[in-house]
Amino acid sequence: MSGPAKKIERKTKRVLGLFGDFDQAFEVIADIRHYKVPGVTVDDVTLKSPIEHPEIEDVLGERPCHIPKYSFVGAAIGFCFGFIFLASAQANFLAQPQGGKPVITIPSNIVLAYEMLILFGVIATLAGFIWSAKLMRKREGLYDAAVTVDQIGIVIEVTDDTFQPMKDLFKKHKVLEVHEESLT
């Protein structure tokens, strides 16, 4: 980020602002993005919402998501492992020629490997989700049940001198409630 953010100050407080309407939250973040509050960047912002708001990325900026990679890797492993596993099982189970069929039967193994592909793909996806969505971690404070009902929450970490301007910004955009906690 550019100039103002350069000088490193210890963040001492975390603020949660609750908004009744997504547009207000949107504007808050838009303002932050345009450095209406010096020393605060969008990177410090976390949005909490009852529903998904993909459009927030317009102001929050593109943030990467690696789920498809997980899925792909999982699927690839699933298929290869599936096929090799079956083939080697059959290769070790020779004493059963059946109905004049070969020992290692490609068509049936492909069907099964295909199932394995999907199974592993799904599981890998889930794993990726849990990992990159930081689920199953210890929950930080500053959470309000209202965000699972209908309110939008903006969590932002501030230093002592950016604390007040931040609140003003919230108020300017008709914040409903402001919670704060100190980072120690």
Partner: protein, 283 residues
């Protein structure tokens, strides 16, 4: 299993080999049968001998009526003869046609690939074997058998079929099947094993005629022949050659129409190993 991956490559080698010869391994024997329908009198001796030899349970009228009988070999009786045209509508002009039917030990057996636990498979003797201990009774094999020669133990038949002291007459060479497993004709595998063990003890090769199945042994008209097709000198392989019926072939090339050999359900290409000789009729 440490050897697991080690065997993979050999497995692949076998796989490619298997592909060349249609999935068959090197057969040590190829036991086959031939039945002359012109000689079969439909007397049931074969099927009763099978009951005695193979510990087959009788089931009684009710279960037989529910078609849950355990007969490995049955003699079917047909009154029509499509090949010699319709007879008079109000009376038979000829006798009936009898067909001893048992597991044909197909080389392209439809029952084998569908078994989920590989309880039925093809042995190196060319037998279609059923591993009772492995069978879990999914009954897919029987569903896929066009001739319906697989019998399933719908009940625990043993207690009723062999009330003491009848159980003393059981053949110790083979097991008594419990409920929930599939069973079928084995070409009297216990006799095959016995004969080959005997041959081994005497330090010689099996020779034609060493192995006699129970049905063949008792057939009063000697309509049933049994032997090893891989043994060029055996009666059975001569018979098959004479009848110009070849194993593993879909289209048989019969130059001589007088040769009566044929196999049932050839159109299904299941490659059965029981050669039937056509019935002859004077008309």
């Amino acid at each position: 299993m440490p050897s697991l991956l080690g065997n993979v490559f050999k497995g692949w080698a076998d796989y490619s080999k298997a592909n060349e010869d249609g999935g068959h391994h090197d057969y040590e024997h190829m036991y086959a049968m031939s039945i002359d329908l012109d000689k079969c009198t439909g007397c049931n001796a074969c099927s009763t001998a099978c009951y005695a030899e193979n510990n087959l349970a009788w089931v009684g009228e009710e279960k037989f009526g529910a078609r849950q009988a355990m007969n490995w070999m049955r003699v079917e009786r047909y009154f029509d003869e499509p090949d010699v045209g319709e007879g008079s509508p109000d009376s038979l002009e000829r006798g009936a046609s009898f067909l001893p039917m048992m597991c044909q030990h197909c080389n392209g057996a439809p029952c084998e690939p569908v078994c989920p636990v590989a309880a039925t498979y093809h042995t190196v003797d060319g037998l279609n074997a059923q591993i009772y201990n492995r069978c879990i009774g999914s009954r897919y094999c029987a569903n896929n058998c066009p001739i319906r020669v697989r019998n399933f133990n719908f009940y625990d038949n043993a207690p009723t079929a062999w009330p003491a002291p009848m159980d003393q007459g059981l053949n110790p060479d083979i097991s008594v099947r419990s409920k929930g497993v599939m069973e079928k004709c084995t070409f009297c595998v216990q006799r095959i094993r016995g004969a080959s063990d005997k041959a081994k003890r005497e330090g010689r090769e099996l020779k034609d005629g060493d192995i006699v199945t129970a049905c063949q042994q008792t057939c009063p008209t000697s309509a049933i022949q049994f032997g090893d097709l891989l043994d060029e000198t055996s009666e059975i392989s001569k018979a098959w050659k004479r009848q110009q019926v070849e194993l593993g072939k879909y289209e048989q090339n019969k130059e001589n129409p007088e040769m009566r050999g044929y196999r049932v359900y050839e159109e299904l290409n299941i490659d059965t190993k029981v050669l039937y000789l056509e019935r002859v009729r004077e008309v």
